[in-house]
């Protein structure tokens, strides 16, 4: 057992899986000698060679599109998008091809592809880097969308993604790469998709979050604790598949829920969470379900991002409201 | 067992089509893929083939009907064995079409506005509402015109020459001298375009209504060529087999309503053009010449102009040239 930050956990997982399965091949911009923008592939090209850790031209569409063909040839590619915000340049390949090639080919061509993509804000990047686009991909049938919030989970979920037969968009929280540190077992393990994690127990309000927003929810729970409100924090871990049962159970236990996410409000994945809660736990609710999100405005320039992103303080306001205290 | 054949969705999301023609008759033996009917949808005119080899039991629609997708249009008795599926020795003749005879109307009938009629209604509304018409009426002595025609008829291949191609030739010559008559106007862009091409619409009465096929490049053709092309275009128009480009691109229209017996008409300008020449039937009329009343073959002209582009005197100058060329076609009759 070692304490690792998230990027270390991801790097170690990639290395272990590449050792285990020689069909795995990494592709992306700056992932070779440079070791990746965030060092998630540091040293892997030295270790596995240029044929398996491939520096690609600056073109998201063909990074993902060629992964489709590599998978058709029998390999198991792991393309990296340098930032999910640039994923829009590859969206037609992800949504139209990766996600539905299994269906289009009636399982002749499965797509064991894991698209790794750092995402999310609060790291002072220039424009268009920081958007939380996960809902667009969650609405792309055939794809799974995985959003770990801890180093431990990043290892278990990435291993599960790599060994599975379905294509996965693996969203890695930029802000959590180094900030999030936790105990990661040395041994091999996987975490099944579609099982949420109770990140913090509580009895009055359930805070639902994923990825970097789990940290915000935990901070909000701390603040609420000081006011005598006990908050349970739920980390969804995977958006597709969604743990419908676990979500209904967690919310039913408190009767109140607040969803926290980095994406803008309208049609964010929070809407899906709220609808699911209403469908499956309506009778247990004693207050409307609220959402704490970014506003319906483009991701701003870096000096404005703290005001733009959901904060512990804004989340506390929502917690007070569902408690009828504000 | 009879096979009910439903009108299929032949476009991507077609909801209905207009039945233009049946290619088979009730009782007829058919083979799978033989032509069954012509149908016009919003997107295209298509031939629907027979879905089976066998005999036609019923045709459930009339020419002109609108067929909703999914509705039974014909019923077949499929052939039971390969032996009965042999092709008839001669191609089946299309069923005789009943002549279009109007039946007396005893009560109000609602006739849906469809196909060509609908296009005419829309075009005429646009023409009358947007184009301020001025009309110049004239009479011309057709003696020389008829002589020109008769001279041409003596040549081989020209036996059926009519005056329409000659009038077309005259019109093109007059248009050459008056470019503002061979023009179009765009009010939004505040432009008048004087056309270099002489693409002349030939107003044609067809069983479905007025259709105006366009004779392209009329200035570069001999009267014999014009005659042939007019014949082909008007025949194609009556048979509804014009290509879209044969219906578009006109710069001026000739309307020889004289062939229907008319004397003086009120030609309506086709939107996109600024003038149209109406020609009545040539008739012997008493006329005064040098104080004497004599009988002459006379043709009446009615020329409509778009007052936004043409004034009385500019239109009049054009018409005067037309009249002069009818009365003395030498400048245009000399060639070929």
């Amino acid at each position: 057992m070692a304490t690792l930050n998230m990027v270390q956990a991801i790097r170690a997982t990639l290395e272990r899986e590449m050792e285990r399965d020689e069909r795995i091949i990494l592709l992306g911009q700056d992932i070779g000698r440079n070791g990746g923008m965030f060092r998630a592939t540091d040293g892997l090209q030295e270790r596995f060679g240029e044929a398996r850790v491939v520096d690609m031209p600056l073109a998201e569409g063909v990074i993902v599109g060629s992964a489709v063909g590599l998978a058709c040839s029998g390999l198991r590619p792991i393309p990296e998008l340098q930032f999910l915000g640039f994923g829009s340049q590859a969206f037609h390949q992800i949504e139209g091809q990766v996600a539905r090639m299994r269906f289009r080919s009636q399982s002749r061509y499965p797509m064991p592809i894991v698209i790794r993509a750092p995402f999310g804000g609060n790291v002072r990047t220039p424009e268009l880097h920081s958007d939380a686009h996960e809902a667009k991909y969650a609405n792309s049938p055939g794809l799974k969308v995985v959003t770990p919030a801890s180093a431990h989970d990043a290892k278990g979920l990435l291993t599960e993604a790599i060994r599975g037969e379905d294509p996965v968009l693996f969203c890695e929280p930029l802000r959590g790469y180094r900030l999030i540190k936790d105990a990661v077992p040395d041994e091999d393990y996987t975490l099944p998709f579609g099982r949420l994690r109770i990140a913090r127990p509580g009895s009055d309000v359930t805070l639902v979050a994923w990825s970097a927003a789990v940290v915000v929810a935990e901070q909000a729970a701390e603040l609420a604790e000081q006011e005598g409100i006990s908050c349970q924090v739920v980390d969804l871990r995977t958006l597709v598949p969604l743990d419908v049962e676990g979500l209904a159970k967690a919310v039913s236990a408190t009767g109140r829920a607040v969803v926290v996410h980095e994406a803008p409000l309208t049609a964010g994945f929070g809407a899906e969470v709220v609808a699911t809660i209403v469908e499956h736990a309506f009778s247990a609710l004693s207050a409307p379900v609220l959402r704490v999100t970014a506003p319906d405005a483009p991701y701003p320039f870096s000096s404005l991002e703290r005001a733009y992103l959901p904060s512990a303080e804004r989340s506390l306001g929502a917690i007070r409201r569902v408690m009828g205290a504000a | 067992m009879p096979l009910e054949f439903k009108f299929p969705d032949i476009g991507e999301g077609t909801d209905s089509g207009e039945l233009l023609e049946w290619h088979v008759a009730v009782g007829q033996e058919v083979r799978e893929d033989d032509p069954l009917a012509e149908v016009e949808t919003d997107k295209a005119r298509v031939t629907i083939p027979c879905p089976t080899t066998g005999r036609v039991l019923e045709l459930r629609a009339k020419v002109g009907d609108r067929l909703p997708v999914g509705e039974v249009m014909a019923v077949f008795e499929p052939a039971t064995s390969a032996a009965s599926a042999t092709r008839p020795s001669a191609p089946a003749a299309p069923p005789p079409q009943a002549p279009l005879r109007p039946t007396p109307v005893h009560a109000d009938q609602v006739v849906p506005l469809r196909g060509v009629r609908r296009t005419i209604a829309r075009t005429m509304t646009e023409a009358w509402q947007t184009i301020p018409h001025i009309i110049d009426y004239r009479e011309a002595d057709a003696t020389a015109l008829l002589a020109w025609r008769d001279g041409l008829r003596e040549r081989a291949g020209n036996e059926r020459m009519t005056i329409t191609p000659l009038l077309l030739r005259i019109a093109v010559e007059a248009l050459r001298r008056h470019p503002y008559v061979n023009a179009s106007i765009d009010l939004e862009r505040e432009e008048i375009t004087l056309h270099a091409d002489y693409n002349i619409g030939i107003a044609t009465a067809t069983p479905d209504g007025l259709i105006v096929p366009v004779l392209h490049g009329a200035d570069s053709k001999s009267v014999a060529e014009l005659g042939n092309e007019i014949y082909e275009l008007t025949t194609a128009a009556r048979e509804r087999r014009l290509h879209p480009e044969q219906l578009t691109g006109g710069t001026f229209t000739l309307n020889n309503y004289g062939s229907l017996g008319g004397w003086i008409g009120t030609p309506i300008i086709k939107p996109g053009e600024v003038a149209t020449l109406g020609v009545g039937r040539v008739q012997e009329r008493p006329v005064a010449r040098d104080g004497q009343v004599i009988v002459k073959p006379i043709v009446a002209l009615a020329v409509s102009g778009d007052h936004r582009v043409l004034d009385g005197h500019t239109l009049g100058a054009f018409v005067s040239d037309v009249v002069a060329l009818i009365e003395d076609p030498a400048p245009v009759a000399s060639e070929r």
Binding site: V62, G69, L70, Q93, G164 | P8, D9, I10
Partner: protein, 357 residues
């Protein structure tokens, strides 16, 4: 008759087989006679499928269908340069004969046109990717496929078909660029059939040739008369040899002409100049091969008659088999979406198939 060579100016396409079926003195086709006849038979098959499929569509028995009409030499001449046991074809949707050559079946194609997803399932062992409707999206796949096969030590070549329209998509550029970088064994087979539905090639590019683009990607581009079976075939053979030898990709611009509509829902009389169409009819790729074969005394009227009769039978059997499969089952919506489907999707399947029963 030189509309193919003069209408856009620019480079002149390579031509071997003249419109009258003659070839330059001493020219020997690089295929054995049996293969030549097989290619011609596939041309006849393709023409007949075009006709029959149109009728089936007009009878409501088939969905949308895109005929090959006019592009037979382009599609078949190239396909016959590949070795179906190791080389791959990645189609768009107007390359049925190339797919049949690889081992796809007429029955599956009819199923595809009838809207049954089973039709897009390429049989096991047949080197084909599915029919692609999202234009140009298959081109990046091809680079990955060719590179992946080479990575695993195979000497396969991948030939991807697409059109003048698809060449305007970013995927084309990105894929060519990567293929150049990786020297992937790819043949980019661009069928310039002059039309992207109603958009003429003059509105697709400001250049006078697509083949010249290859220079910018660091590999050769060839321009051939796409209605000339031999010119297409020879160019593709050369590209296969280069790719197999590890010399990387080739772009072939096959300048042909779509003589039919874009598909069954299209009415080309709205935009095609009938004179242009007539000019191309004089360059009919099938008639050219026929004249050549008759002249060479490889084909007789009697043999052709026999071919047509066989084709008729094959086609009738395929139609009967495809129609016997019946309408799609609602389960098919769910069957191949995930290897490991989310429980939610299984609930949705039960709800929908339950209602359907």
């Amino acid at each position: 008759m030189s509309i193919l060579t003069t209408s856009t100016g620019g480079p002149t396409p390579v031509r071997i087989l003249a419109p009258d079926g003659s070839v330059p003195d001493g020219y020997r086709p690089p295929l054995p006679d049996s293969e030549l006849l097989a290619a011609y038979r596939l041309m006849l098959m393709s023409r007949r499928v075009d006709e029959r499929a149109f009728n089936l569509q007009r009878q409501g028995r088939l969905g949308v269908f895109s005929p090959v009409n006019g592009q037979e030499a382009s599609v078949i001449g190239s396909a016959f340069a590949l070795d179906p046991t190791r080389d791959w074809v990645v189609p768009q949707y107007r390359e049925l004969p190339a797919m049949l050559r690889q081992g796809y079946t007429l029955e599956r194609f009819l199923l595809y046109c009838m809207g049954d997803p089973e039709g897009n399932r390429m049989p096991d062992g047949v080197n084909l990717l599915p029919i692609q409707i999202s234009l140009a999206a298959q081109i990046p796949h091809v680079v990955g496929l060719a590179w992946g096969l080479r990575h695993q030590g195979r000497d396969s070549v991948v030939c991807v078909y697409f059109g003048d329209g698809a060449s305007s998509e970013g995927d084309f550029h990105e894929a060519c660029n990567l293929a150049g970088v990786r020297r992937a064994p790819v043949i980019f087979f661009l069928q310039n059939n002059r039309w992207a539905i109603s958009t003429p090639v003059s509105k697709q590019t400001g250049a006078d040739s697509f083949a010249t683009r290859a220079t910018g990607y660091g590999f050769p581009g060839e321009l051939v008369d796409g209605n000339d079976f031999f010119a297409v075939h020879e160019a593709t053979l050369l590209a296969v040899a280069r790719a197999r030898a590890g010399e990387g990709p080739t772009l072939i611009e096959s300048r042909t002409y779509r003589m039919g509509p874009h598909n069954t829902a299209d009415d080309p009389t709205r935009y095609v100049d009938p004179e242009e169409l007539e000019a191309y009819r004089a360059l009919d790729p099938v008639a050219r091969v026929r004249s050549f074969l008759l002249e060479a005394e490889l084909l007789s009227e009697e043999l052709e008659h026999r071919m047509r009769a066989e084709i008729e039978e094959e086609l009738a059997a395929a139609v009967a088999a495809a129609e016997a499969r019946g309408a799609g089952r609602p389960e098919q919506i769910f069957d191949h979406v995930y290897a490991d489907p989310p429980p939610r999707l299984l609930d949705q399947r039960d709800a929908i198939t339950g209602e359907a029963q």
